[in-house]
Symmetry: none
Subunit: 225 residues, 2 copies
């Protein structure tokens, strides 16, 4: 389903370099040619990754000089950072907190049988993806989107879709896709989603809203240890 492009790996690889080599803000990255050689890909691929990194506000390229760290992925996640400097990506969690919690509540209140089946299907897909140790971002989003759809209110899907690209960015930046997740993390993520789905199935509005809030809170905590 989600085909992995080399530039995705390069993106993750560069983020990994910034983190592992502990490059400070303003530090210079290896040149495009060196990165290409390191990852065993062409310079064009590295460039596509760098363009996205720059568009995500993580790096900055200066012609003739090189690419530089603009803000470290982990630091943008810091809770104490003033909101004015907070990236759109992290801020999106703040919106999801109220938006998706309300969606879960409404979904539990007035879901139809068909919508419930749709949610269950999304849960099954996520379970499968998580257990296969693949990066399950797409399936994760899909389940959340199905829950938003179960409110029967298209406006929720619209607001959700407007937010998701940013959520995805932070996921890509924060998660090392090269390393497989430990089993207990997979199980935790599964259980969190299952509790939400169960509450919607049982038509328990407060339970669904609480479970969703808890899941988002834990998710954000996972991204900034």
């Amino acid at each position: 389903m989600s085909q992995i492009r080399l530039s995705d790996q390069a993106y993750a690889g560069i983020v990994e370099i910034i983190k592992s080599e502990d490059l400070e803000v303003g530090a210079r990255l290896p040149s495009e040619a060196k990165l290409a050689e390191t990852f065993g890909v062409s310079r064009a691929i590295v460039r596509e990754a760098l363009v996205r990194l720059a568009s995500d506000g993580i790096t900055e390229a200066r012609r003739g000089a090189g690419s530089f760290v603009k803000s470290r992925p982990s630091e943008r996640l810091a809770a104490f950072m003033p909101m004015s400097e907070l990236s759109t990506t992290l801020g999106s969690y703040e919106v999801r907190f109220v938006l998706e919690a309300e969606a879960a509540r409404l979904a539990a209140t007035r879901r139809t049988a068909q919508e419930m089946a749709h949610v269950e299907e999304g849960m099954a897909l996520l379970r499968e993806a998580l257990l296969s140790s693949e990066p399950a971002h797409a399936e994760d989003m899909d389940l959340h989107r199905r829950i938003a759809a179960a409110t029967g209110n298209p406006a929720f899907i619209q607001a959700f879709d407007a937010l998701w690209p940013d959520v995805e960015k932070i996921m890509r930046a924060g998660v090392d896709i090269s390393r497989s997740r430990p089993p207990e993390v997979v199980e935790t993520m599964l259980r969190e989603h299952e509790v939400i789905v169960a509450a919607i199935r049982a038509q328990d509005p407060e339970g669904a809203a609480l479970a969703m809030r808890w899941h988002l809170w834990e998710g954000r905590r996972r991204l900034m240890p």
Copy 2:
């Protein structure tokens, strides 16, 4: 300062094509080669733009098939809307209820002086427009948007912008422009907004959230008695 790269122009150009040619979600974009020829740049530049477009959730590339519109930038769903028009538009109020109430709360909590001035300015513009007996939808939206901006969290503005086209539609549909509003309605709308702004000024989070909820509740009641 910020040097303009060709890929930035290509990015803007592709967005322009989606808007001007009115490409629906799922529609296919011209091929990379054609886009390159159109913009007078190389295919690599177009690719860098497309990679960013995809990362922003606007397009989606399928190998061998082409690139497709995934969601239309900003004015999603603005022009053409499915049948369930009324329910969609009214449904947006449900989202605004949680979204804007939270925005008002956060704005009251952590607004800067500059953001507050921005909000006051929006209030002044709305007051002027309302007293001149013109339909003040644009000014109304503008004030709400400034409040969302005062959270310091760009994600709120994004979610807000995704919703607004629907809200505007129902406003236009529900209000009879030919008849001028009675003075007491104008005064009520002014007072509701002023209470919200005052609470944000006083840095009273709960008051701001409550006032916003009340305003939205009344607004919906005004539209469908």
